[in-house]
Symmetry: C2
Subunit: 238 residues, 2 copies
């Protein structure tokens, strides 16, 4: 076993949330990771940036590129970036919480940020072309999530076709290792891999202590509970 | 004929070059235009921004959104954004200039900016979702151009599939009305429509007077010559 084996490079989209935390930990087993994080005017921007930096550091990423996107604040249209639209409490949707997802059917929540993941993936692809990386990881989750259209397998298939047709060599692929997993399975995998959940952040609404009531907190808390694990981040006591 | 007929909205990607100038003029006949322009660290950033503003004003756009993308300066890899890579003179490729294009085969030039158009289109789609626009125009040209992978019809087909799978309603389409035209045909169309070529800018290398020798200048000059028209922008006298 030579110590100078060259590992392949991968670009990892790192929001700092629980899913990307596990995704980055997973990618770091087999790849030299170049992580990319985005501040796009989301309410919890500063906390998420700190989380991404800590996850990158702890998982041994080669680099963390931090990018700012002005667009979403300029155009509004999402509760995450538009102060005029409140972040809903998951209680507002209690009747829909019986199944795996907080949403049923094709209803897209007000926390949807229009076509957001395309911005993240485009940056990852551009960087991968320059780095010579052929793999991009993103911790998108379809089931057991908020029902965003850009978190479904068909979307990633389409993105891979876009890369095939629109890049110099056409040989970069987006991988979504968590997409078919339940959130509780993601927690179990993260615990097994030693993912640094203690520095991750999922809350849509607040930055020092997680609110515990937004859709993202409720999904996270339920995932840890179902996995029989303790969520190590601080929550507001209610 | 009522004067209060509501026209549909369209988002137009407006670089300020000759193709986007014609594309915006064309779109303005049938749509209320919301133009978007990008400063991405290209050498002629300031001149292009002025051109986009003037084209938007003259063609009667409702709005021009100006977005900055830091990424390309950060990652380098293109002669347009990386000071360490020279903008080549078209003379370097003279043997390849016999046909319609400056390039033959699948050679991608050093002026290729990695996966650039995906960033532009992603912003256009996000804005279109908020505006309720169902049409996006981009002045991409395949034939008679530099051979960039993200200027081919297959790329736009893939992007439209991405929109179908990854947006709230899935009903936005990217239109590329110039993609199959020769550059000289685009000049003729622009003259016919009264496109404001005098404020457009195509040069990759300089901002006050066009260099006349980079690939983009050579393609532009040849297009005007073949169309029997006079290019109204200033060129460095050699």
């Amino acid at each position: 076993m030579s110590s100078d084996l060259v590992r392949p490079r991968a670009v990892v989209c790192l929001s700092g949330g629980m899913d990307s935390c596990v995704c980055a930990t997973l990618a770091a087993r087999d790849f030299d990771v170049f992580a990319v994080h985005f501040s796009y005017g989301q309410r919890t921007e500063a906390r998420e940036q700190w989380s991404a930096e800590e996850v990158a550091r702890i998982t041994g990423a080669q680099e963390l590129m931090h990018l700012k996107i002005d667009l979403f604040r300029m155009i509004g249209g999402s509760a995450l970036t538009d102060e005029g639209i409140a972040v809903p409490s998951a209680k507002d949707d209690e009747s829909e919480m019986a199944g795996g997802s907080l949403r049923t059917g094709h209803q897209v929540p007000v926390t949807y940020v229009p076509f957001r993941n395309a911005h993240f993936l485009s940056a990852a692809v551009s960087w991968a072309e320059v780095l010579g990386a052929r793999t991009i990881f993103i911790g998108a989750v379809e089931q057991d999530s908020s029902g965003y259209p850009d978190c479904r397998p068909a979307y990633y298939d389409a993105f891979n076709e876009l890369i095939r047709t629109g890049t110099k060599d056409g040989d970069i692929r987006v991988e979504t290792p968590l997409i078919a997993m339940r959130k509780s399975e993601i927690v179990r995998l993260g615990v097994e891999l030693g993912a640094p959940f203690h520095v991750s952040w999922s809350c849509y609404a607040s930055e020092s202590e997680a609110c515990g009531v937004c859709e993202s907190c409720v999904l996270r808390l339920r995932a840890f509970r179902e996995a029989g694990a303790v969520d190590p981040i601080p929550y507001i006591q209610r």
